[in-house]
């Protein structure tokens, strides 16, 4: 293997202090994610799947263990270095979209580029381009309050994509969406995956995990199963091209 894996985690633990009690959110997880994989992380609430995603996303630092991102040890980096990694390497999609209120789709999408120091004109150009890519070329000036849930999540995906990340992390991206919109969003993510983007998706819903090519199951802070399979497009889903159709 010439290139190191995108994500390589060795015996990662995370312990939270909750008052007097210690909570072991991760009890020693080892995992490798190669570039291009579409991974879903499943598990009941409290299984540690969100904690794992936060650690992979460099939003948090592990209590112990190693985390090599593209071969580079990142588990001991300071807040500034982690912020830089999040800015350049990661894209985040959240269950509750987390768009800035009363702020246009375009301004929401260009946010990561502000912190990357990209000049304003270039930011706007790329924001428009990325919004078109997710099928929102006609919603540039709309505020989150003027858009449906599916549209908001697509703005959030555009925001995650604009920095050309190596890794897209999605935390229950369909948790707040109805099933039809969920399928649209999953089809969009699958399209991105087919185009070569590495995606790690946290979900508790098996029908969402079906879209992915690898399913990890966590229980009590440990990986209890790791299934690889051919990525399937669930029968009920619209074809990938559907996301290009204006809603």
């Amino acid at each position: 293997m010439t290139n190191p894996p995108l994500v390589r985690i060795e015996n990662l633990t995370k312990v939270y202090q909750a008052g007097e009690a210690e909570v072991r959110a991760l009890a020693g997880v080892s995992l490798t994610v190669e570039a291009g994989e579409f991974v879903s992380v499943m598990g009941a609430s409290g299984s540690g799947k969100s904690t794992l995603m936060h650690l992979i996303g460099c939003l948090d630092r592990p209590t112990s263990g190693r985390y090599l991102l593209e071969g580079r040890e990142v588990s001991g980096l300071n807040r500034n270095a982690l912020a830089e990694i999040r800015n350049r390497t990661m894209g985040f999609v959240f269950q509750s979209f987390n768009l800035l209120a009363r702020t246009s789709a375009m301004e929401n999408v260009e946010l990561p580029l502000i912190y990357a120091g990209v000049p304003a004109a270039e930011r706007r150009r790329r924001a428009v381009e990325t919004l078109r890519q997710v099928g929102l070329g006609d919603r540039l000036e709309h505020h989150p309050g003027q858009m449906s849930g599916g549209q908001q999540q697509r703005v959030a995906i555009a925001r995650a994509l604009i920095g050309a990340p190596r890794l897209l992390l999605a935390d229950e991206p369909t948790g707040n969406l109805d099933s039809r919109t969920s399928r649209e969003v999953m089809a969009l993510l699958q399209g991105l995956s087919r185009a070569g983007l590495t995606i790690v998706l946290v979900t508790h819903a098996p029908e969402i995990a079906e879209w992915t090519s690898r399913v990890l199951t966590l229980k009590d802070g440990l990986i209890v199963s790791d299934e690889r399979r051919a990525a399937a497009t669930p029968a009920a889903a619209a074809p990938v091209g559907a996301v290009e159709v204006a809603p």
């Binding site: 985040f92 702020t103 912190y115 920095g163």
Partner: protein, 409 residues
């Protein structure tokens, strides 16, 4: 992230809550406005006092005779004549720090014009008197030393007297008025001087040669001066020196031993003027400090709102951090918001302060004196208030944990 981008972000955030931003800035607006108005008005009042004192005369000492006491009743200064004409001559010739010394004899008399009469102060003086008091004749001519020598019956009228006898704007130079039924020729009119710092009308007086006053008005030629001596020192700095020298000269001439009090009184009007200005300055400082306190209260308002804003926008901060904002980016953003509020408030406050000061100045007829420095001081101070009171909330924002911030409900 360029400063320009930071500023734009700050203005966007403030613009999302216009009413709140305005109310927050209002504290600073009022503080800076009050501060500038107070200082500008204070400067105007000070200039007004200076003006009043300069019309009284410059570097001025006034010497009066001592007080009389008969059976325990004290008559007040001037009631017992102790100053002699020889004293005056000695002051004129023997004290180097004195440039001029002139007598002033006063009496109240009725002046009769062509149709009207007016009772006013008749003052006997020498030409030096006008030099000392810095008073000018703006129509006709002043009297000269030959008028003093010959005791001519000439008179200079104050403007109020002219108004009363001839009506406003009249020019009665060359006409004759009667003082104590004696005809005096009007040779000139005094320039308008306004009020003394004590509110006395300087223009309600007429001036005649002191020799004429002694022979015709006062009656009886005494060796003593039944009035005051006005002394003009050679410079403002020399005023105190002149006071000391005149005092020791008079004590010598009156043969007063060391333990005996002065039998005359010297008033140093420069000192009085300085004291008055000091008083005005103290009042200005007091008012300006109260205004400055209100500026600090405005700063606390900013801090309060910024803390609320940080709490409200915890999720936003989490999102910004997730997409790559470093702690210093967050710090810069919130600090810039606080700074924008305080500086904008400062600019608006400065404009309002200048506006209200000019209104008040126009209303009270004060000069409007704006030192640009004071506006700069107010703006710098409001910026400092913004930084000081914005720093704590901004630091709190920048130290948030991204995960907790994202989870915040």
């Amino acid at each position: 992230m360029t400063p320009w981008t930071v500023l734009r972000l700050a203005f966007r955030a403030l613009g999302r809550n216009t009413m709140r931003s305005f109310l927050t800035a209002l504290g600073i607006i009022i503080g800076v406005g009050a501060f500038i108005a107070m200082v500008v008005i204070g400067e105007g009042a000070k200039a007004r006092v200076e003006e009043a004192f300069s019309s009284m005369g410059t570097n001025l000492l006034v010497i009066q005779s001592g007080s009389s006491s008969q059976r325990g009743v004290f008559g007040g200064f001037g009631s017992m004549p102790t100053l002699t004409w020889d004293d005056l001559k000695a002051i004129q010739t023997e004290v180097p720090s004195v440039r001029h010394a002139a007598p002033q004899l006063r009496s109240t008399a009725s002046i009769i014009g062509e149709e009207l009469n007016w009772t006013t102060s008749v003052t006997g003086v020498t030409p030096d008197y006008f030099e000392i008091r810095n008073w000018q004749v703006d129509s006709g001519v002043p009297f000269t030393s030959s008028d003093i020598d010959a005791a001519t019956k000439v008179v200079l009228l104050g403007r109020t007297v002219v108004d009363r006898l001839y009506g406003p704007g009249a020019d009665p130079v060359g006409q004759t008025v009667r003082i104590k039924s004696m005809p005096f020729q009007v040779i000139g009119l005094m320039a308008r001087k306004g009020q003394s710092p004590m509110g006395q009308d300087y223009d309600d007086a007429v001036f005649i040669p002191v020799s004429t006053f002694r022979s015709k008005i006062q009656g009886g030629l005494s060796n003593f001066i039944a009035g005051s001596i006005f002394v003009g020192a050679s410079s403002p700095e020399a005023t105190s020196k002149a006071e000391r020298e005149v005092r020791s000269l008079l004590r010598d001439r009156h043969r007063l031993s060391a333990e005996v009090d002065d039998d005359f009184q010297i008033r140093n009007l420069t000192e009085i003027a300085t004291a008055q200005q000091e008083g005005t300055r103290t009042l200005t400082t007091l008012l300006a400090s109260i205004a400055a306190v209100s500026l600090i209260v405005g700063g606390i308002g900013i801090m309060n709102i910024m803390l609320v804003s940080v709490t409200e926008r915890t999720r936003e901060i989490g999102v910004r951090m997730a997409v790559g904002a470093k702690p210093r980016h967050i710090l810069a953003q919130f600090l810039t918001e606080a700074l924008s509020l305080s500086v904008l408030g400062g600019v608006v406050g400065a404009l309002l302060g200048l506006l209200s000061a000019s209104r008040l100045a126009a209303r009270f007829g004060w000069p409007m004196l704006v030192r640009p420095g004071i506006v700069v001081v107010a703006l710098v101070f409001s910026a400092i208030v913004g930084v000081v009171f914005g720093l704590y909330p901004a630091q709190r924002a920048s130290r948030l944990d991204p995960i907790e911030a994202l989870r915040y409900e």
